[in-house]
C-alpha cells in the first residue's frame, strides 16, 4: 500500500510537471517581440523657406539653407544641413559686411507612433561656421569728441555650436513634407573677439549671445526607397 501511494504521488508530480512545462511555453511568458531591423526608407531633400522671409524683414541679409536626411524606419533620421549667409548694412554711422558658410550634422528621433509617415520629435546637431566680417565708416556720436571715421579690416573666424531642436513634419502631398522646428543653439568655441565682436554668425545667430533661440521652416521632398518592403 505504501509502495502504491509512493508510485501514485510520483505519477501525479510527473504529470503536473509536464503540464506546467506546457503552460510555461504557451501562456506564462509573453511572446518575445522581434525587433524590426532599421530600414532605409528614403532620403529627404529640403530647403529652409523661412530664410526667404529675410527679403521682407531683414533685407540686409541674404541666406540659404538646405537639408538632407536619411530616414531609418521613420524612427531615426541622420541629418546634414548646410547653407551660406551674407550681410551688408549701410547706415549713416557705419557700414558692416560679413559672409560665410555653415554645416550641421546630427540625428533626429521621431516620437510619433500614430503617424507612420509624419514626424514629431527631437534632434541634436553639431554646427560649424566659417566666416569673415569687416566694417568701415564707423563714427560715434558724442558731444565732446570730434567725429572721426574708423575702419576694421576683414577678420576670419571658425565657430562651433551645439543645437537641440523640437519639431514637426507632415506629409502635405505624396512625398512632399512641410515642417518647422524650434531651436536652441549653444556656442562652444570661436564666438568671441575682444576687439571686434561678430554680429551675426551664419547658422548660429547673434554672436554676442552664448545661447540663441530660433526657428526653421522647411519644405522637403522625400525620395522613397524600399518600395516593395
Amino acid at each position: 500500500m505504501v509502495r502504491f501511494s509512493y508510485i501514485f504521488s510520483l505519477s501525479l508530480l510527473l504529470f503536473f510537471s509536464i503540464y506546467s512545462y506546457g503552460q510555461d511555453k504557451d501562456s506564462l511568458y509573453a511572446p518575445i517581440k522581434e525587433k524590426e531591423p532599421l530600414v532605409l526608407k528614403g532620403m529627404k531633400v529640403g530647403i529652409n523657406v523661412g530664410r526667404f522671409s529675410d527679403y521682407l524683414f531683414k533685407p540686409e541679409r541674404t541666406s540659404y539653407e538646405a537639408s538632407f536626411d536619411f530616414n531609418l524606419s521613420n524612427r531615426y533620421f541622420g541629418v546634414i544641413e548646410g547653407g551660406l549667409s551674407e550681410t551688408n548694412i549701410k547706415k549713416d554711422n557705419y557700414q558692416y559686411s560679413s559672409e560665410g558658410t555653415f554645416v550641421k550634422a546630427g540625428v533626429d528621433f521621431n516620437m510619433l507612433k500614430k503617424y507612420p509617415s509624419d514626424y514629431f520629435g527631437i534632434g541634436v546637431r553639431l554646427g560649424r561656421a566659417a566666416f569673415k566680417h569687416s566694417a568701415s565708416n564707423l563714427t560715434y556720436e558724442n558731444i565732446h569728441w570730434p567725429t572721426q571715421s574708423l575702419s576694421i579690416d576683414s577678420k576670419s573666424y571658425t565657430t562651433y555650436w551645439l543645437e537641440v531642436s523640437l519639431g514637426i513634419k507632415g506629409e502635405l502631398l505624396k512625398n512632399v513634407y512641410f515642417g518647422w522646428s524650434a531651436l536652441v543653439r549653444v556656442g562652444i568655441s570661436g564666438r568671441k573677439d575682444e576687439q571686434f565682436q561678430p554680429f551675426n554668425i551664419p547658422g548660429f545667430g547673434k554672436g554676442t549671445s552664448a545661447v540663441n533661440l530660433g526657428a526653421n521652416y522647411y519644405i522637403y521632398y522625400q525620395i522613397p526607397f524600399n518600395k516593395n518592403k
Binding site: S53, W145, L150, I168, G170, G179, E194, F199, T208
Partner: protein
C-alpha cells in the same frame, strides 16, 4: 484636424516674432566717472569743487556739471575717446592757479550692438598717468567701462 493643419497654426504663431522697427532703443554710450575727494584745506578755501571743470585739448567745450554719488562725493562723467587708446583730460578750477592732467590709456572693444544702433565701444583702463600739482593720488575702482557698467577713477586732492 489633420496633422498638417497643426503645422500651419504653429507657423502663423511664430511669424508674429518677425517684426521690428528701425529705432535704436538701447544705451550706446560708455561712461567713465571721475570721483573728486578734496582733503586739502587750501583747495576747499577757494571752492575748488564748486568751480571745477574738465576738458580735453581735442574738445571744443568743457564739462562743469557736478553730480554726487551715494557717499556725497562730487562725480563727473564723460565718454573716453572712441577714436584713440589715449584720452587726455585736463582738470581745472576757476580760482586755482595750476591745472592737473590725466592721461588715460585704454584697450577698446568695438561691438556691433544691432542694426538699428550700430557699433558701441567698450573700454578697459590699462594705466592712468597724472600730474601732481593738486592731485595727491588716484585709485582705479572700476577699470571696465561698458554701456551697462560705468568705469570709475577716484581722485584725491
Amino acid at each position: 484636424m489633420r496633422f498638417s493643419t497643426y503645422i500651419f497654426i504653429f507657423l502663423m504663431f511664430f511669424s508674429v516674432f518677425s517684426c521690428s522697427d528701425d529705432v535704436c532703443n538701447e544705451e550706446t554710450e560708455s561712461t567713465l566717472n571721475l570721483v573728486f575727494i578734496v582733503n586739502d584745506t587750501s583747495l576747499t578755501n577757494i571752492d575748488f569743487i564748486d568751480n571745477l571743470s574738465i576738458y580735453s585739448p581735442e574738445w571744443t567745450d568743457s564739462i562743469h556739471f557736478l553730480d554726487e554719488n551715494e557717499s556725497g562725493d562730487a562725480v563727473l562723467g564723460f565718454m573716453l575717446s572712441p577714436y584713440s587708446d589715449t584720452s587726455e583730460i585736463i582738470i581745472t578750477s576757476k580760482n586755482a592757479t595750476e591745472k592737473d592732467t590725466l592721461i588715460i590709456l585704454t584697450q577698446r572693444e568695438q561691438i556691433f550692438l544691432s542694426k538699428e544702433c550700430g557699433f558701441i565701444m567698450d573700454f578697459l583702463i590699462d594705466t592712468v598717468l597724472f600730474t601732481l600739482n593738486y592731485i595727491d593720488s588716484i585709485e582705479i575702482n572700476e577699470d571696465e567701462i561698458t554701456t551697462a557698467k560705468n568705469g570709475e577713477i577716484q581722485l584725491y586732492f
